[in-house]
């Protein structure tokens, strides 16, 4: 099918992808720097074309619970927010994971802690991949590095969310959300009919026909023995994701002596730093993480056997670097560099950090 070329903000690309991917419902609450997601949906009025429901909720707490309701009924539902709003959603996210519901949540990260700032940040890594809410659970976490990936990962997100019956987070940042780039959009995928929904999501609570038992969606089991079994099932699912669903991109790594490990905006900056480094004769490559959970442990372990050092580049005080160190198991030096609180590092700063912390270090 023919693809159409557009110029859009990352946030608008999320909204456009929602409409074109057969999304049934979006529930959100305004917060900078991601409000264009809902604004674009309200301008497009998809309820008149595809029948998609779009609703501005009274809070992020409410919007994530609307998502929980729609997901429990078998619908393709999503929300988007930015850091402080995502903190409010943690209750809903752990319930979604506990009740094994598919849903898509976009976090266009801004600097924290607290009300922080409205500028880009990557300081919500721990919250996204280590839980955030209570209990042993994982979300599938995708890190887009371009407007095109903001669009594409909505489609991928639905696929993973329904395959594993698990919430998927697109962990973006204020830069990717706000930047305008060209992107290719594909044709509309129709929303599921009720017949398709009942076939694809037979577990959904959307009205009990006479010929089946009533469906119950809950995360509660007061019998601890059963709750432990449920947890075993969840853990098996997460291990399967680690086995089958890791995504990454290795750039200029074939001859690399040093590796940048980065995702999202930091990966874009690191690509420029590679160019600057190679001009100076430093053989450096980039391992760009696309999934943050599952984390590419095996790939990092392999690189750690070959290279002289790795620099984790992230707009935080050092979060992802912990997972890089765990995977590298001290086979090579692993250091962290990143500006934070809403400041974006420059390629020169990144290269300088490699030289200071790893090469000279």
């Amino acid at each position: 099918m023919a693809k159409e070329l557009k110029l859009m903000k990352g946030n608008e690309a999320i909204a456009e992808a929602a409409i074109r991917s057969g999304c049934d419902g979006y529930f959100g609450y305004p917060i900078t720097p991601q409000s264009e997601v809902m604004e674009h949906l309200m301008i497009e009025k998809p309820w008149e074309t595809t029948g998609m429901v779009v609703l501005q909720a009274e809070s992020e707490t409410s919007s994530i619970n609307m998502v929980y309701g729609g997901a429990a009924a078998g619908k393709k539902v999503m929300t988007s927010s930015s850091s402080p709003g995502i903190s409010l959603m943690q209750e809903g996210l752990t319930y979604l994971a506990g009740a094994e519901l598919p849903a898509l949540v976009v976090n266009v990260v801004r600097g924290g802690p607290g009300l922080g700032t409205i500028q880009p940040s990557q300081a919500d890594y721990f919250q996204a991949v280590k839980g955030g809410g209570h209990g042993d659970y994982q979300m599938y976490v995708l890190a887009p590095a371009s407007v095109q990936e903001m669009y594409d990962f909505v489609f991928l997100g639905w696929e993973i969310a329904f395959k594993y019956r698990n919430p998927v987070m697109i962990l973006s940042d204020g830069a990717i959300g706000q930047v305008m780039e060209k992107l290719y959009v594909g044709p509309h995928i129709p929303r599921w009919t009720e017949e398709e929904l009942r076939k694809n999501a037979p577990w959904a609570s959307c009205g009990k026909p006479a010929d089946r038992d009533h469906n119950i969606i809950t995360s509660l089991d007061l019998d601890s023995a059963k709750q432990e079994l449920h947890n075993h099932k969840l853990q098996a699912k997460y291990r399967e994701m680690e086995e089958k669903e890791v995504l990454f991109e290795a750039i200029n790594c074939e001859d690399a002596e040093y590796i940048f490990v980065a995702y999202g905006s930091s990966a874009r900056i690191a690509q420029k730093a590679i160019q600057l480094g190679r001009e100076k004769g430093i053989k450096v490559g980039l391992l760009r993480l696309i999934t943050l959970f599952p984390f590419p442990k095996k790939q990092i372990a392999e690189f750690s056997k070959k290279v002289k050092g790795m620099l984790a580049v992230e707009m935080s005080a050092g979060q992802m670097v912990e997972d890089v160190r765990l995977a590298a198991e001290f086979r090579c030096p692993v250091e962290h560099f990143g500006r934070y609180g809403g400041i974006i590092h420059t390629p020169h700063e990144v290269l300088e950090a490699l030289e200071e912390k790893i090469i000279k270090g």
Partner: protein
């Protein structure tokens, strides 16, 4: 004496509705939950909407409501049932999504979700059990606990200085233009049960006709939480709860009832 010979179709005067499962209810004897469950289920059966009914269960004593209602069900986080019902009903406009919530769930932790769902006029039915106490967690003070009432967290009686006033959330919700039908009933006598069943039927009929939000409050005793026998608890409820929470319609067909 049990006489199996009299179990014949021609002697049948009453049977359990199929909209309740055979699961044994965990509710305390004398509590209003069991009766309210039964009449909600009977209304669903009589209207022929079992295949369209979706129950949103709360956190509280009725957290396991989904085990008793033989309809598709969703267990909510504490207080969030109206937000969940909002999404379900908007995506399936021909269904009968109803929440079943207690006073702590609806009037404390879920106040925002309740007010905004009602204010948007979501086409949902809210069944609200008000017994003035947190039953499941062991009898703590609720937003609807009466002044002077002793609970586990107001052991010397609720005072205005320490705890503020009991919240008449039902009257508050009746002020919102999105609500279409607001009534307060009880299930402590046979006559009251019949009135409450009629009110619940009205609420589901309103939903069928897409009229907006209907809420049926059921003032109930919590005999174990109140530390009374069921009979004493009902007497205390009539003499005290009904003073602060008077029985009757508050808003009918979108118009407030003049007192």
């Amino acid at each position: 004496m049990f006489n199996p010979d009299i179990i014949k179709p021609e002697n049948l005067v009453y049977e359990k509705t199929n909209v309740l499962t055979d699961a044994i209810m965990h509710y305390c004897p004398g509590c209003g939950h069991g009766t309210t469950h039964r009449i909600v289920a009977e209304v669903i059966e009589e209207m022929g909407i079992q295949d369209k009914a979706i129950c949103i269960a709360p956190v509280g004593c009725s957290v396991l409501a989904y085990n008793y209602f033989n309809v598709d069900a969703i267990g909510a986080a504490h207080g969030r049932a109206p937000a969940i019902a909002t999404a379900v009903q908007r995506m399936f406009p021909d269904r009968h999504t109803f929440t079943y919530q207690g006073d702590g769930d609806l009037a404390a932790i879920g106040t925002a979700e309740t007010i905004h769902a009602c204010n948007r006029g979501e086409n949902i039915v809210i069944i609200f059990i008000n017994n003035g106490i947190y039953g499941m967690t062991g009898g703590q003070m609720a937003p609807t606990t009466l002044l002077g009432m002793k609970t586990a967290t107001s052991p010397y009686g609720r005072t205005v200085e320490l705890n503020g006033y009991p919240l008449q959330i039902t009257e508050l919700l009746a002020e919102l233009p999105g609500t279409y039908y607001i009534t307060r009933q009880s299930v402590h006598t046979a006559a009251a049960v019949r009135k409450t069943k009629k009110a619940i039927r009205q609420a589901f009929e309103n939903q069928k006709n897409k009229k907006g939000t209907s809420l049926v409050e059921v003032v109930s005793n919590c005999n174990s939480g109140w530390k009374m026998t069921p009979v004493e608890a009902n007497k205390w409820m009539v003499e005290n709860m009904f003073v602060k929470y008077p029985i009757g319609d508050i808003k009918v067909d979108g118009e407030k009832v003049k007192k």
